[in-house]
């Protein structure tokens, strides 16, 4: 590469097909971060070299992602960021590994993405195991703190990896922690109608409803529950599309109010997080976790480039593996990769309060106290 030329970064997301919304959000985050890095003077250790995004569309399939990896690898990218879905990430990391090009997984929560021994693969955010474990811990802790108002639970989950995995875990863990799981309802994505689910919830009248669904279904469920006058003591979701989505909060403030979610989220008190939030609002975009996780990943990559002082694959991989990056706005502390997984990464609990999304747990990063149980 010519000295002083831009450093090319492969930004791969599913921007067409079924996952288009999340993919597009992720792309926006990565592009914003790259613009910010460049505006701040580029990679100083490399003479102010600029970052350049090479955009790729995985078309919502693994093979689509791999085709992009191949194309970009032949176009000399220094690293990859993105993937979004676990299935895509599994395929793209593996393809990138053949070239030893470092790959930063943005969301892809499947645990085995980072347990396959691929030296090039790094995940900054928490994996599924951690998220679900922390979600249960947090739920129990919050319930205890509030005087155990919730005892009975119904779980509504989408039927792919994340929803069914979580439902399985909840069913195993919750009974030992003083909860009774009344019923577990799986639904496909998309589901056209939630009337019956609401009906069943109404008839069993649980204290707590735990939905684990993607955005559209989540919204339909919440709307239908409101319509059918189903009012549990709390709705506590995990990675639950709508409870950490400003569009939902804005469009259905009544249905969204007081919903809690254990999810990837920024440390809301962090100034750079607030700045990003403002910027996203100004750009008329929605501040979603796909967006800021990608942003954070680019920041992490920029830091590694600074330390490596080179875009060389081996050096960059080494710099990532030894990264102790703390200039991000996630509530994780400095990064520390163990077998490619950032061991400090944890989710937090957010709640819809005053038409905004606030972190309410753990206390160390909480912006507001939890409202639990929900006032009748």
């Amino acid at each position: 590469r010519a000295q002083g030329g831009p450093i090319r970064i492969g930004v791969i997301h599913p921007v067409t097909g079924a996952l288009a919304f999340s993919g597009a959000q992720g792309r926006v985050g990565a592009e914003m971060a790259i613009a910010d890095v460049n505006a701040a003077g580029g990679i100083k250790a490399m003479g102010g070299a600029k970052l350049e995004a090479v955009l790729g569309d995985a078309r919502s399939t693994p093979e689509g992602g791999v085709a992009e990896v191949e194309r970009m690898a032949s176009g000399n990218v220094a690293a990859f960021v993105g993937g979004f879905a676990s299935g895509i990430c599994l395929a793209t990391t593996q393809a990138a590994a053949r070239y030893d090009i470092p790959y930063l997984v943005d969301v892809g929560v499947a645990d085995n993405i980072v347990t396959r021994g691929l030296k090039n693969t790094f995940r900054f955010g928490p994996g599924f195991g951690v998220i679900s474990r922390v979600a249960i811990e947090n739920l129990v802790a919050m319930n205890d703190a509030a005087g155990k108002p919730a005892r009975t639970v119904m779980i509504v989950h989408e039927d792919s990896l994340f929803g069914s995995g979580l439902a399985g875990l909840l069913n195993r863990e919750l009974p030992g922690k003083g909860f009774e799981v009344l019923e577990t309802i799986a639904h496909p994505t998309p589901t056209r109608d939630f009337s019956n689910v609401a009906l069943r919830i109404r008839s069993r009248n649980p204290d707590l409803v735990i939905p684990a669904s993607y955005y559209n279904e989540y919204v339909l469920l919440a709307r239908t529950m409101q319509q059918q006058r189903v009012r549990p003591k709390a709705i506590f979701s995990v990675l639950g599309g709508a409870a950490s989505n400003y569009r939902f909060v804005r469009e259905f403030p009544d249905a969204a109010r007081f919903i809690m979610d254990c999810n990837h989220w920024v440390d809301g008190r962090n100034p750079s997080a607030q700045a990003l939030r403002r910027k996203v609002d100004a750009a008329n975009q929605f501040f979603t976790y796909e967006l800021f996780l990608n942003y954070a990943n680019i920041m992490l990559l920029a830091d590694a480039l600074e330390r490596a002082g080179s875009a060389d694959k081996a050096k960059l991989t080494e710099a990532l593996a030894s990264s102790t990056f703390s200039g991000h706005f996630m509530p994780y502390g400095p990064t520390k990769f163990e077998n490619g997984q950032n061991s400090g990464a944890v989710p937090v609990v957010t709640q819809v309060l005053d038409n905004d999304i606030k972190v309410i747990f753990p206390a160390s990063v909480a912006e507001a106290p939890a409202v639990f149980p929900v006032p009748a």
Binding site: T16, A18, D57, A67, A73, S74, G87, L161
Partner: protein, 319 residues
């Protein structure tokens, strides 16, 4: 009879030489995916193109081949090659089962098309809830490169493998074309009653065709699983796979040996072209792809093979 196979063998040999002269992984990856689609399409074509039984659900075979190879390795520790073979057999057996249910009931035409679509959906739903297939979580084949594990280190090896599969499938189709079974299959496509009157056991012919078809398409699915190493219900049984299988065959030239291969290459190229022209704007590339697809249909109504034939001086029918 040898003469009939010669053109196929020559083209296969030429394709086999590609990795020796081209060392772009982009090209090899492109070809590899195209050949995989051609393989799925060749299976579809045997039943749909020659037999006239349009299936909208060939994903059911693709997915079954894929899941078989994954589940047998991961859950039962069976060797990858054996699992691959089992996947093909399973595809064929499933074909027999579906064929027996549908053809026996006299389903044909669009009814058959929609029933196969329903079978694919049933398979997708089952795979998304059955623990054996990993249910919603999907199933991951552990990454272990090597000949015995059927995971190829280099792009070229994977390419040759799928080329070999496609070659076998094409030779099978070609051989059928020039035999009694081929004539009967085509007769069934054209007019079942007339075929029956001429002593064709219509049910048997269709069953044999769907079994072969299922097996061939299952091999494409097995290859998919073995290449990307991860499967979930949507990837294995998604409706788009069924569409691609029929698209390659129809665009290339239905009921011809070459159709699926040409169709797959052209469609993949169009898709790349769309992507290229559409730039980074999501959707634009696919809009162009759709538009070109319609133009292809407009100007090559009998597929690319048909177009090529009409450009050549009229040949007397094969004798």
């Amino acid at each position: 009879m040898r003469d009939h196979l010669a053109p196929v063998l020559i083209v296969l040999a030429l394709l086999a030489g590609v990795p020796l002269v081209v060392d772009s992984n982009v090209v090899l990856n492109f070809l590899k995916v195209a050949l995989m689609l051609a393989l799925a399409g060749t299976g579809w074509n045997l039943l749909g193109g020659y037999g006239g039984q349009f299936s909208f659900g060939h994903a059911v075979f693709f997915g079954t081949g894929a899941y078989a190879v994954a589940v047998l390795q991961v859950r039962f520790g069976i060797n990858a090659w054996a699992a691959f073979g089992a996947g093909i057999v399973l595809g064929a057996v499933l074909g027999l089962a579906i064929g027996w249910l549908t053809f026996r009931a006299g389903l044909r035409g669009s009814y058959f098309a929609l029933v196969t679509l329903a079978f694919a959906e049933v398979a997708r739903i089952i795979a998304s809830v059955w623990p054996l297939t990993g249910a919603g979580a999907g199933i991951l084949i552990p990454l272990r490169e090597g000949f015995l594990t059927l995971q190829f280190g280099s792009r070229a090896e994977g390419y040759w493998f799928v080329l070999a599969l496609l070659g076998i499938a094409m030779l099978i189709v070609r051989a059928i074309e020039v035999r009694r079974f081929g004539a009967q299959l085509v007769a069934v496509r054209e007019n079942e009653d007339a075929a029956r009157a001429l002593g064709v056991d219509v049910l048997r012919v269709k069953l044999l065709a769907i079994a072969l078809s299922g097996g061939i398409t299952a091999s494409a699915g097995a290859f998919y699983a073995q290449t990307f190493l991860y499967l979930d219900a949507g990837l294995a049984y998604g409706p788009w796979i069924s569409v691609e299988a029929l698209l390659t065959a129809i665009v290339g030239g239905i009921g011809t040996v070459w159709g699926p291969l040409l169709g797959a290459l052209v469609l993949q190229a169009l898709s790349e072209l769309g992507k290229h022209l559409g730039g980074d704007a999501p959707g634009l590339g696919l809009v162009l792809f759709g538009a070109v697809l319609i133009l292809v249909v407009r100007f090559a109504p009998n597929g690319i093979v048909g177009l090529a034939r009409s450009l050549r001086p009229r040949r007397l029918a094969r004798g």
